[in-house]
Symmetry: C2
Subunit: 148 residues, 2 copies
Protein backbone atom coordinates (compact mmCIF):
# COMPACT_ATOMS: atom_id res chain seq x y z
CA UNK A 1 0.00 0.00 0.00
CA UNK A 2 1.27 3.49 -0.84
CA UNK A 3 2.14 5.79 2.03
CA UNK A 4 -0.48 8.22 0.84
CA UNK A 5 -3.20 5.57 0.93
CA UNK A 6 -2.02 4.48 4.35
CA UNK A 7 -2.19 8.00 5.72
CA UNK A 8 -5.72 8.29 4.39
CA UNK A 9 -6.68 5.25 6.39
CA UNK A 10 -5.53 6.91 9.60
CA UNK A 11 -7.36 10.11 8.70
CA UNK A 12 -10.46 8.06 7.98
CA UNK A 13 -10.10 6.36 11.34
CA UNK A 14 -9.90 9.76 12.99
CA UNK A 15 -13.04 11.01 11.21
CA UNK A 16 -15.01 7.91 12.10
CA UNK A 17 -13.97 8.21 15.70
CA UNK A 18 -14.83 11.87 15.96
CA UNK A 19 -18.24 11.17 14.48
CA UNK A 20 -18.84 8.25 16.79
CA UNK A 21 -18.18 10.52 19.75
CA UNK A 22 -20.57 13.16 18.45
CA UNK A 23 -17.74 15.68 18.07
CA UNK A 24 -16.52 17.87 15.26
CA UNK A 25 -13.45 17.25 13.21
CA UNK A 26 -10.89 19.88 12.27
CA UNK A 27 -8.08 20.40 9.81
CA UNK A 28 -5.70 20.77 12.76
CA UNK A 29 -6.37 17.28 14.03
CA UNK A 30 -5.76 15.80 10.62
CA UNK A 31 -2.55 17.76 10.27
CA UNK A 32 -1.30 16.45 13.57
CA UNK A 33 -2.10 12.88 12.56
CA UNK A 34 -0.22 13.51 9.34
CA UNK A 35 2.85 14.74 11.17
CA UNK A 36 2.81 11.68 13.41
CA UNK A 37 2.34 9.44 10.40
CA UNK A 38 5.37 10.91 8.65
CA UNK A 39 7.57 10.83 11.74
CA UNK A 40 10.04 8.01 12.03
CA UNK A 41 10.77 8.74 15.65
CA UNK A 42 9.01 9.59 18.86
CA UNK A 43 8.12 13.26 19.10
CA UNK A 44 7.54 15.67 21.98
CA UNK A 45 4.53 18.00 21.83
CA UNK A 46 6.93 20.83 21.08
CA UNK A 47 8.47 18.96 18.16
CA UNK A 48 5.06 18.09 16.81
CA UNK A 49 4.09 21.74 17.05
CA UNK A 50 7.18 22.81 15.10
CA UNK A 51 6.48 20.31 12.35
CA UNK A 52 2.78 20.93 12.04
CA UNK A 53 3.42 24.66 11.78
CA UNK A 54 4.95 24.00 8.38
CA UNK A 55 1.53 22.84 7.23
CA UNK A 56 -0.41 25.42 9.21
CA UNK A 57 1.60 28.36 10.59
CA UNK A 58 -1.23 29.52 12.83
CA UNK A 59 -1.77 26.37 14.82
CA UNK A 60 -1.30 26.85 18.55
CA UNK A 61 0.63 24.68 20.96
CA UNK A 62 -2.47 24.28 23.10
CA UNK A 63 -4.24 22.67 20.17
CA UNK A 64 -1.41 20.20 19.87
CA UNK A 65 -1.74 19.29 23.53
CA UNK A 66 -5.51 19.01 23.34
CA UNK A 67 -5.34 16.89 20.21
CA UNK A 68 -2.70 14.58 21.61
CA UNK A 69 -4.77 13.99 24.75
CA UNK A 70 -7.75 13.20 22.62
CA UNK A 71 -5.86 10.90 20.27
CA UNK A 72 -4.25 9.09 23.13
CA UNK A 73 -7.50 8.59 24.97
CA UNK A 74 -8.91 7.10 21.78
CA UNK A 75 -5.81 4.94 21.26
CA UNK A 76 -4.86 6.47 17.93
CA UNK A 77 -1.52 7.44 19.41
CA UNK A 78 0.66 6.08 22.18
CA UNK A 79 2.85 8.02 24.52
CA UNK A 80 5.92 7.01 26.39
CA UNK A 81 7.98 8.92 28.89
CA UNK A 82 11.70 8.53 28.72
CA UNK A 83 13.85 9.31 31.73
CA UNK A 84 14.13 13.05 31.91
CA UNK A 85 13.20 13.82 28.33
CA UNK A 86 9.51 14.00 29.03
CA UNK A 87 6.58 12.50 27.23
CA UNK A 88 6.89 11.57 23.58
CA UNK A 89 4.23 10.47 21.14
CA UNK A 90 3.98 8.07 18.26
CA UNK A 91 1.16 7.00 15.98
CA UNK A 92 -0.43 3.74 17.00
CA UNK A 93 0.30 1.60 13.97
CA UNK A 94 -1.24 -1.46 15.54
CA UNK A 95 2.08 -3.18 16.01
CA UNK A 96 2.72 -3.29 19.71
CA UNK A 97 6.36 -3.01 20.64
CA UNK A 98 8.59 -2.02 23.52
CA UNK A 99 11.66 0.18 23.62
CA UNK A 100 15.35 -0.03 24.17
CA UNK A 101 17.19 3.22 24.76
CA UNK A 102 20.89 3.94 24.49
CA UNK A 103 21.99 5.92 27.51
CA UNK A 104 24.91 7.33 25.59
CA UNK A 105 23.50 8.55 22.27
CA UNK A 106 19.80 8.51 23.11
CA UNK A 107 18.87 6.30 20.20
CA UNK A 108 15.61 4.42 20.55
CA UNK A 109 15.22 0.89 19.24
CA UNK A 110 11.92 -0.89 19.10
CA UNK A 111 11.49 -4.57 19.74
CA UNK A 112 8.82 -7.15 20.20
CA UNK A 113 9.26 -10.47 21.95
CA UNK A 114 6.32 -12.79 22.05
CA UNK A 115 7.58 -14.71 25.03
CA UNK A 116 8.10 -11.58 27.10
CA UNK A 117 4.54 -10.52 26.46
CA UNK A 118 3.35 -13.95 27.43
CA UNK A 119 5.31 -13.96 30.67
CA UNK A 120 3.91 -10.61 31.66
CA UNK A 121 0.46 -12.06 31.27
CA UNK A 122 1.42 -14.95 33.54
CA UNK A 123 2.91 -12.67 36.19
CA UNK A 124 -0.25 -10.57 36.22
CA UNK A 125 -2.45 -13.64 36.50
CA UNK A 126 -0.46 -14.90 39.44
CA UNK A 127 -1.28 -11.67 41.26
CA UNK A 128 -4.93 -11.81 40.25
CA UNK A 129 -4.32 -8.70 38.22
CA UNK A 130 -6.23 -8.08 35.01
CA UNK A 131 -3.50 -6.89 32.67
CA UNK A 132 -4.54 -4.10 30.32
CA UNK A 133 -1.32 -2.64 29.04
CA UNK A 134 2.31 -2.28 29.91
CA UNK A 135 5.40 -0.23 29.42
CA UNK A 136 8.84 -1.73 29.24
CA UNK A 137 12.01 0.19 28.56
CA UNK A 138 15.44 -1.40 28.48
CA UNK A 139 18.27 1.04 29.11
CA UNK A 140 21.78 0.29 27.99
CA UNK A 141 24.48 0.97 25.43
CA UNK A 142 23.83 0.38 21.75
CA UNK A 143 26.29 -1.56 19.55
CA UNK A 144 27.65 1.60 17.90
CA UNK A 145 28.39 3.32 21.19
CA UNK A 146 30.08 0.22 22.55
CA UNK A 147 32.59 0.44 19.72
CA UNK A 148 33.63 3.98 20.50
Amino acid sequence: MSAKKELELYIEELRTLVKKRGLKNSAQREQIVQVLFLADEHLTPEEIHQRVKKLNPNIGLATVYRTLSFLEKEHLVNSISFGSEGKKYELNRGDHHDHMICLQCGKILEFYEEELEHLQEIVAQKAGFKLLTHEMILYGICPECQNK
Copy 2:
Protein backbone atom coordinates in the same frame (compact mmCIF):
# COMPACT_ATOMS: atom_id res chain seq x y z
CA MET B 1 17.70 -7.23 62.35
CA SER B 2 15.79 -4.45 64.07
CA ALA B 3 14.40 -1.65 61.95
CA LYS B 4 16.52 0.83 63.84
CA LYS B 5 19.70 -1.08 63.09
CA GLU B 6 18.68 -1.38 59.49
CA LEU B 7 18.12 2.33 59.17
CA GLU B 8 21.55 2.95 60.63
CA LEU B 9 23.06 0.84 57.88
CA TYR B 10 21.51 3.07 55.24
CA ILE B 11 22.70 6.17 57.06
CA GLU B 12 26.16 4.67 57.27
CA GLU B 13 26.05 3.96 53.56
CA LEU B 14 25.16 7.57 52.93
CA ARG B 15 28.01 8.85 55.07
CA THR B 16 30.54 6.59 53.40
CA LEU B 17 29.38 7.69 50.01
CA VAL B 18 29.48 11.36 50.82
CA LYS B 19 33.00 10.97 52.15
CA LYS B 20 34.08 9.00 49.10
CA ARG B 21 32.92 11.82 46.89
CA GLY B 22 34.76 14.38 48.99
CA LEU B 23 31.52 16.09 49.94
CA LYS B 24 29.96 17.12 53.22
CA ASN B 25 27.11 15.36 54.91
CA SER B 26 24.13 17.06 56.48
CA ALA B 27 21.32 16.33 58.90
CA GLN B 28 18.86 17.04 56.10
CA ARG B 29 20.17 14.25 53.91
CA GLU B 30 19.96 11.78 56.75
CA GLN B 31 16.43 12.90 57.55
CA ILE B 32 15.39 12.33 53.97
CA VAL B 33 16.90 8.85 53.97
CA GLN B 34 15.01 8.16 57.17
CA VAL B 35 11.71 9.23 55.65
CA LEU B 36 12.31 7.00 52.65
CA PHE B 37 13.29 4.14 54.92
CA LEU B 38 10.07 4.43 56.90
CA ALA B 39 7.85 4.80 53.84
CA ASP B 40 6.01 1.74 52.69
CA GLU B 41 5.08 3.29 49.39
CA HIS B 42 6.55 5.37 46.61
CA LEU B 43 6.66 9.05 47.46
CA THR B 44 6.67 12.24 45.41
CA PRO B 45 9.16 14.98 46.31
CA GLU B 46 6.27 16.95 47.73
CA GLU B 47 5.20 14.05 49.96
CA ILE B 48 8.75 13.54 51.12
CA HIS B 49 8.96 17.22 51.97
CA GLN B 50 5.77 17.06 54.02
CA ARG B 51 7.01 14.07 55.98
CA VAL B 52 10.52 15.30 56.57
CA LYS B 53 9.16 18.62 57.84
CA LYS B 54 7.87 16.72 60.86
CA LEU B 55 11.49 15.99 61.75
CA ASN B 56 12.81 19.36 60.67
CA PRO B 57 10.23 22.11 60.09
CA ASN B 58 12.72 24.39 58.37
CA ILE B 59 13.81 22.11 55.59
CA GLY B 60 13.18 23.51 52.13
CA LEU B 61 11.65 21.77 49.16
CA ALA B 62 14.72 22.63 47.09
CA THR B 63 16.86 20.63 49.49
CA VAL B 64 14.58 17.66 49.00
CA TYR B 65 14.98 17.91 45.24
CA ARG B 66 18.74 18.34 45.46
CA THR B 67 19.09 15.44 47.86
CA LEU B 68 16.92 13.13 45.79
CA SER B 69 18.98 13.87 42.67
CA PHE B 70 22.12 13.13 44.60
CA LEU B 71 20.79 9.94 46.14
CA GLU B 72 19.49 8.72 42.83
CA LYS B 73 22.75 9.41 41.02
CA GLU B 74 24.48 7.38 43.72
CA HIS B 75 21.90 4.60 43.50
CA LEU B 76 20.74 4.90 47.10
CA VAL B 77 17.24 5.58 45.84
CA ASN B 78 15.30 4.65 42.72
CA SER B 79 12.74 6.72 40.95
CA ILE B 80 9.89 5.68 38.76
CA SER B 81 7.45 7.80 36.83
CA PHE B 82 3.88 6.64 36.77
CA GLY B 83 1.55 7.80 34.04
CA SER B 84 0.47 11.30 34.94
CA GLU B 85 1.35 11.17 38.62
CA GLY B 86 4.90 12.30 38.09
CA LYS B 87 8.12 10.97 39.50
CA LYS B 88 8.10 8.98 42.71
CA TYR B 89 10.97 7.78 44.85
CA GLU B 90 11.78 4.74 46.94
CA LEU B 91 14.82 3.67 48.92
CA ASN B 92 16.98 1.20 47.05
CA ARG B 93 16.76 -1.80 49.34
CA GLY B 94 18.87 -3.92 47.02
CA ASP B 95 15.94 -6.06 45.97
CA HIS B 96 15.25 -5.26 42.35
CA HIS B 97 11.61 -5.44 41.44
CA ASP B 98 9.15 -4.15 38.89
CA HIS B 99 5.72 -2.62 39.31
CA MET B 100 2.11 -3.38 38.62
CA ILE B 101 -0.31 -0.48 38.90
CA CYS B 102 -4.09 -0.57 39.26
CA LEU B 103 -5.60 1.93 36.87
CA GLN B 104 -8.69 2.18 39.01
CA CYS B 105 -7.46 2.68 42.58
CA GLY B 106 -3.83 3.57 41.86
CA LYS B 107 -2.44 0.86 44.08
CA ILE B 108 1.11 -0.22 43.31
CA LEU B 109 2.19 -3.84 43.60
CA GLU B 110 5.77 -4.95 43.34
CA PHE B 111 6.88 -8.15 41.71
CA TYR B 112 9.98 -9.95 40.64
CA GLU B 113 10.12 -12.68 38.04
CA GLU B 114 13.48 -14.27 37.37
CA GLU B 115 12.51 -15.48 33.95
CA LEU B 116 11.37 -12.07 32.82
CA GLU B 117 14.68 -10.58 33.83
CA HIS B 118 16.47 -13.32 31.98
CA LEU B 119 14.45 -12.81 28.81
CA GLN B 120 15.17 -9.11 28.81
CA GLU B 121 18.84 -9.93 28.86
CA ILE B 122 18.39 -12.21 25.86
CA VAL B 123 16.42 -9.62 23.91
CA ALA B 124 19.12 -7.04 24.53
CA GLN B 125 21.86 -9.44 23.47
CA LYS B 126 20.05 -10.20 20.24
CA ALA B 127 20.19 -6.51 19.42
CA GLY B 128 23.83 -6.24 20.43
CA PHE B 129 22.70 -3.98 23.24
CA LYS B 130 24.54 -3.91 26.54
CA LEU B 131 21.71 -3.94 29.07
CA LEU B 132 22.27 -1.77 32.13
CA THR B 133 18.86 -1.34 33.67
CA HIS B 134 15.20 -1.44 32.82
CA GLU B 135 11.81 -0.22 33.78
CA MET B 136 8.71 -2.33 33.47
CA ILE B 137 5.26 -1.32 34.56
CA LEU B 138 2.19 -3.46 34.10
CA TYR B 139 -1.07 -1.53 34.10
CA GLY B 140 -4.34 -3.22 34.86
CA ILE B 141 -7.06 -3.78 37.41
CA CYS B 142 -6.22 -5.21 40.82
CA PRO B 143 -8.22 -8.11 42.33
CA GLU B 144 -10.12 -5.82 44.75
CA CYS B 145 -11.24 -3.43 42.02
CA GLN B 146 -12.34 -6.31 39.81
CA ASN B 147 -14.79 -7.35 42.51
CA LYS B 148 -16.48 -3.98 42.71
